[in-house]
Amino acid sequence: MKIRLTVNGESREADVWAGESLLTALRDTLELPGSKNACEQGECGSCSVLLDGDLVCSCLVLAAQADGHEVTTVEGLRSEDGLHRVQQAFVEAGAVQCGFCTPGLVVATAALLERVPSPSDDVIREELSGNLCRCTGYAKIFDAVRLAASRA
């Protein structure tokens, strides 16, 4: 089936099958492999994208459900001026190791700071608890979130 959606501000069309996830469509059809597939069960958050501004696991959304909607992936955060402040903070704080969780965490953090510009540590912990990271132990990720928040 054909779907039409807006991805990172651009109108796109994709030919998907009924059971295809938005994540698979983004990665394999729309050539946007930035969103990662690590569990395909909505447990790890590596595939986090914004669907009409809401944070979702794209592995749990059917591609067909995104028909007519707006999707922002990690590739869409960077502007012509450079990195998004969350991306820049992740780089500077040392919040990236293997980086497989990073796209999801960057999108989740950007979404958090849109809603809560200056989150407390407890709020950061709760809001990012759906994003698994196996390398960092999260400490430098918290540093990055605080750094990005401080630069609003």
Binding site: V91, F100, C101, G137
Partner: protein, 738 residues
């Protein structure tokens, strides 16, 4: 696959600087290409058919239906492996594809390549395999009395202690001093460790591309490119130079990528179909796709004087190696050699045995045998402290192993080992204040639940030491190669096959090259077997040490060469650490100056809160001091310590592969739990820098000690909180409900 140029706007960094990662920008933008992100024109998708039984005979294998399905280009079985039929990291005991028998749940039996992933999966489901079930060997204590899973005994006659019992992978005995020596007090215990998974986030994946001349290029996430090549080529029936392994983006490793996953399978399909073939495991398959941390049972008896001096330590360690050898022989040795921790003991008897079973194959995982024994031996030290009425930190200081003292193997500590300093620094880290109740349920054990207002919460403080070797051991001829090209314009390109798995070795290589060459104009070429010799494995906390040595030497040689000849220079150098020798097969004593290259110690202090009504635990705070030699990049070192600590926390509280008759019951992130942001507390870190004399810049590997110590330290705090012995990890809610 282009040469990665460091970002000029970031802090580039020389040795000792807190440099930002050279690959951080492509990783935060989503542009970094992981092994699962690769594509090639005309690419097919490969899928692996796996055994649904832990132990069975293959009676019949019928691919006739599968090959006829739409889009299918190949269905391959054991008979299609053109070269050597088995492979393995140290012993070639594992079939590329199972022939007459399967020995573990999830063992590869056949391969399919098709145009679309869904077509490949359907064809895999259409491969008909008739099995005759065999009694699985699943109890490691009974394995040595059951029929052998490998009657040809692949790990025997390699210089290890001879052992006639069936299913023994390795049996090591370390006899030190007088094993009958008595103390004034004795404490004993039996400790159990469950199977932990590396759970790297990027599942096994790669792309195999035929070169049109009979050879193949494999782009894959791995830890050691050259040893992959040396296992793949014989199975394909090709000379090594026709198999080129290129490092694709690696989504974490932690030991789980030491063994092969899709490498041979992808290459077989690619050479057979003459098309590029991509294989990507999903999360469930990833649980079958790599080896795990050995589950263990450890019996301990510690004898000491009334004053607290250890007199005699006896430990019997049993490890379940699962179906194939992998690196189990080395894990067996590591578990034994560091079993008693960084303590001076005149007498010891340590027996370490690993057995084959039909459980999931086990091999390397961060800590490599030392995690299991640290948990046991540190529990014993706490017991002893209680028995003697001595402060647990004082007891550890009293027995601390320092340079000049001997290990139970007879090896005298010659390098840096600031055990007392590490203990004192960790013990001096200030504890957080107790938090009053009631409070936000987010800050109670269990997190967001609103079941309680904290009436059952008990606070406990714990302490532990972790101890492990750095680099490979027991006479292994370990080396690391680096190649440096200097351009006429002053620019430099470094070639290294050192696997960047997320730990940051690529950054270290650049820092070393910038330091040695005195320029920031340094690029790192792609990691590949095609352009440079072996770097050895990103394992054993060795990669930073070895790569730093090789790159330093190659840079210095390149500068000398340019001094001599002028113009462009291209030199390759091989670095070796001081040689080690094997342990005596009968006594477990050293046969030369040393069996291990260097040692590292970490101390950790932990505060927990246990809700003894709900059986839930909150780790409130962790403070740690670690012996790092010299921090080449303090930011990256902290990241290793924080991340390594989290993996130990996972083993303490939640991570376990659950099996029934060898079948994995929880192969998903829904059922295999990993620490989240809600589980990890802040970690206060003190770096103790006493340079290692044998290492470049005085460096020591830093990745493993935090994982070794944190499980033990968290359990220590939980025992204080609950008063329970807690002899098994991960701890279950039932264990801590009072």
């Amino acid at each position: 696959m282009s040469t990665t140029r460091p970002q000029t706007e970031l802090q580039l960094g020389r040795v000792g600087d807190p440099a930002t990662r050279h690959d951080a920008t492509p990783k935060v933008t989503g542009e970094f290409a992981y092994s699962s992100d690769l594509n090639a024109a005309g690419m097919l998708w490969g899928v692996t058919v796996r055994s649904p039984h832990a132990h069975a005979k293959i009676v019949e294998l019928d691919i006739s239906q599968a090959v006829r399905l739409p889009g299918v280009h190949a269905v391959l079985t054991h008979g299609d492996v053109p070269g050597q039929k088995t492979y393995g990291l140290e012993f070639a005991d594992q079939p590329v594809l199972a022939a007459e028998r399967v020995r573990y749940y999830g063992e590869p039996v056949a391969l399919v390549a098709a145009e679309e992933p869904e077509q490949a999966r359907r064809a895999a489901a259409a491969v008909r395999v008739e099995y005759e079930l065999l009694e699985p060997v699943v109890d490691m204590e009974r394995a040595t009395e059951q029929p052998p899973l490998h009657p040809d005994r692949p790990t025997m006659a390699h210089g290890y202690r001879e052992d006639d019992r069936p299913n023994v992978v390795r049996h090591l005995v370390i006899r030190h001093g007088d094993p009958d020596a008595d103390g004034d007090v004795t404490v004993s215990g039996v400790y159990d460790v469950g199977i932990q998974d590396q759970a790297f986030l990027g599942p096994e994946s790669g792309l195999a591309v035929p070169d049109g001349e009979g050879g193949v290029d494999i782009y894959v996430a791995t830890q050691w490119l050259h040893v992959d090549r040396d296992q793949v080529a014989p199975c394909l029936g090709l000379p090594p130079e026709q198999v080129r392994i290129h490092l694709a983006g690696v989504g974490g490793a932690f030991g789980g990528r030491e063994d092969l996953s899709m490498q041979i399978h992808g290459a077989l399909l690619a050479l057979h179909t003459k098309r590029p073939v991509k294989i990507v495991y999903n999360r469930e398959e990833s649980f079958f796709g790599h080896v795990h941390r050995h589950p263990a049972r450890i019996w301990c008896e510690h004898r000491a004087t009334r004053a607290g001096e250890l007199v005699n330590v006896q430990m019997r360690i049993l490890l379940d190696g699962g179906a194939y050898a992998s690196s189990s022989t080395a894990v067996t040795s590591n578990a034994a050699c560091f079993a008693i921790g960084p303590y001076k003991v005149a007498n010891a008897l340590i027996e370490s045995t690993c057995v084959y079973t039909n459980n999931p194959p086990c091999g390397a995982m961060r800590g490599f045998g030392a995690v299991q024994t640290c948990f046991a031996t540190e529990a014993q030290m706490d017991l002893l402290a209680t028995e003697l009425g001595i402060d647990p930190v004082e007891l550890r200081l009293l027995n601390a192993l320092e340079p000049g003292d001997a290990l139970p193997t007879g090896q005298v500590v010659r390098g840096s080992l600031p055990t007392r300093e590490v203990i004192r620094r960790a013990a001096a880290l200030p504890l957080p204040d107790e938090e009053p109740l009631p409070r936000d349920p987010l800050r109670l054990p269990g997190g967001a639940g609103n079941t309680t207002t904290g009436e059952g919460v008990r606070r406990g403080v714990g302490f532990a030491l972790g101890f492990k070797n750095i680099c490979y051991s027991e006479g292994f001829d370990d080396f690391c190669t680096a190649r440096v090209q200097l351009g006429a314009d002053g620019s430099a390109v470094v070639h290294s096959a050192a696997a960047e798995v997320g730990q940051g070795v690529a950054g270290v290589i650049l820092q070393v090259a910038r330091t040695e060459l005195g320029t920031d104009d340094v690029a790192l070429a792609p990691h590949t077997t095609a352009a440079v010799g072996s770097a050895g494995s990103a394992s054993a906390s060795r990669m930073t040490w070895m790569a730093a040595g090789a790159v330093r030497d190659a840079c210095r040689a390149a500068l000398e060469e340019r001094e001599r000849s002028g113009g462009e220079v291209d030199v390759e150098r091989v670095y070796r650490h001081p040689r080690t020798t094997p342990l005596d097969a009968e006594t477990g004593q050293i046969t030369g100056e040393r069996a291990h290259v260097a040692l590292a110690v970490a101390a950790m202090r932990v505060v927990v809160e246990v809700d003894v009504e709900l059986g839930l635990t909150r780790v409130v705070w962790i403070g740690t001091a670690q012996d790092v030699g010299k921090a080449l990049n303090p930011l990256a070192v902290e990241g290793q310590i924080e991340g390594g600590t989290a993996q130990g926390l996972g083993l303490a509280l939640m991570e376990e592969i659950v099996t029934r008759d060898g079948e994995i019951l929880n192969a998903s992130f829904t059922d295999y739990l990993l620490p989240t942001t809600l589980d990890m507390p802040p970690v206060d870190i003190a770096l103790v820098e006493v340079p290692e004399p044998d290492a470049p810049y005085g460096v020591k590997g830093v990745g493993e000690p935090p994982t070794v110590v944190s499980t033990a330290a968290i359990l220590s705090a939980m025992r204080t909180a609950t008063g329970r012995p807690l002899t098994r990890v991960p701890v279950r809610p039932d264990d801590i409900c009072l």
